[in-house]
């Protein structure tokens, strides 16, 4: 057996931090998953809000109160940023699937562009739409 250390070594992604310096590549890859999964919450809230609007003014008032409360606003603003990040980072993934932008400097610059772009798009959506 060549691999005598099986099961007794840090496994991905838990080596990031204590054993391995976090890099924009791995951090954004993990964030793509986290934002994708987290958007489930916003999806449930929006469907509830739409269904309530279709049912009755009373049902809508309840759903709308939750979505526009301070905690609802916090969740929706967070989801808005998650949606923009997932969208912009998704464009990077589609580019890589076509074999483009795989050089290290391109990976780094598009990564930071996705981070900056997600903040800019969140601000634009919040204040200019």
């Amino acid at each position: 057996m060549a691999d005598v250390n099986r099961g007794n070594r840090p496994l991905s992604p838990f080596m990031i931090g204590p054993y391995y310096r976090p890099q924009i590549t791995s951090v954004l890859s993990i964030m793509h998953r986290i934002t994708g999964v987290a958007l489930l919450l916003a999806a449930i809230l929006v469907v509830w809000w739409l269904a309530a609007a279709a049912i009755s003014p009373q049902a809508f008032a309840r759903a709308d109160w939750v979505l526009t409360s301070w905690i609802g606003t916090l969740v929706l603003v967070g989801s808005l940023w998650a949606l923009w990040f997932h969208t912009l980072n998704g464009i990077r993934h589609l580019m890589w699937d076509m074999g483009r932008g795989m050089e290290m400097n391109a990976v780094h610059s598009t990564g930071w562009a996705a981070v900056a772009g997600s903040v800019v798009m969140t601000v634009i959506t919040l204040f200019f739409v």
Binding site: V37, A43, L50, L83
Partner: protein
């Protein structure tokens, strides 16, 4: 298996035994969601917080109702396939994994259907 060559046995199939179908479907839905996200999000963001009448007026418009329905269908399809990969990656035991995959399918179809029905009801009663 005995009467097939090794190549014929694995042709078009990865470890998931379904080839690249799931991968391709994720890519196609993500490309479709690029314009759909803009088309759905901006009118939705404008209507949010403007009251019941504003929502009824927005989705009483045939174009916004159509965009919302397509966004919900493609969006929940994309969410379902994404969550499926996450479950397959992080849930190692077969019974728990199969249970979660079935629940994932039911949940996304239910949410998508509820959203589409709600928008259609608003659109058709406008």
């Amino acid at each position: 298996m005995a009467f097939k060559t090794d190549y014929a046995r694995v042709h078009g199939l990865g470890s998931a035994h379904e080839g690249v179908g799931h991968w391709w479907q994720q890519r196609l839905s993500s490309i479709a969601l690029l314009p759909l996200t803009f088309l759905f999000l901006f009118p939705f963001a404008r209507a949010l917080g403007q009251g019941h009448e504003a929502v009824l007026a927005l989705y009483g418009n045939w174009w916004h109702a159509l965009v919302a329905v397509v966004f919900l269908i493609v969006g929940f399809n994309h969410l379902m396939s994404g969550l499926q990969v996450v479950i397959e990656d992080y849930v190692p035991t077969k019974p728990a994994r199969t249970t979660l995959l079935v629940l994932n399918t039911i949940m996304n179809w239910a949410l998508g259907a509820a959203g589409v029905f709600a928008v259609a009801k608003i659109a058709f009663s406008a």
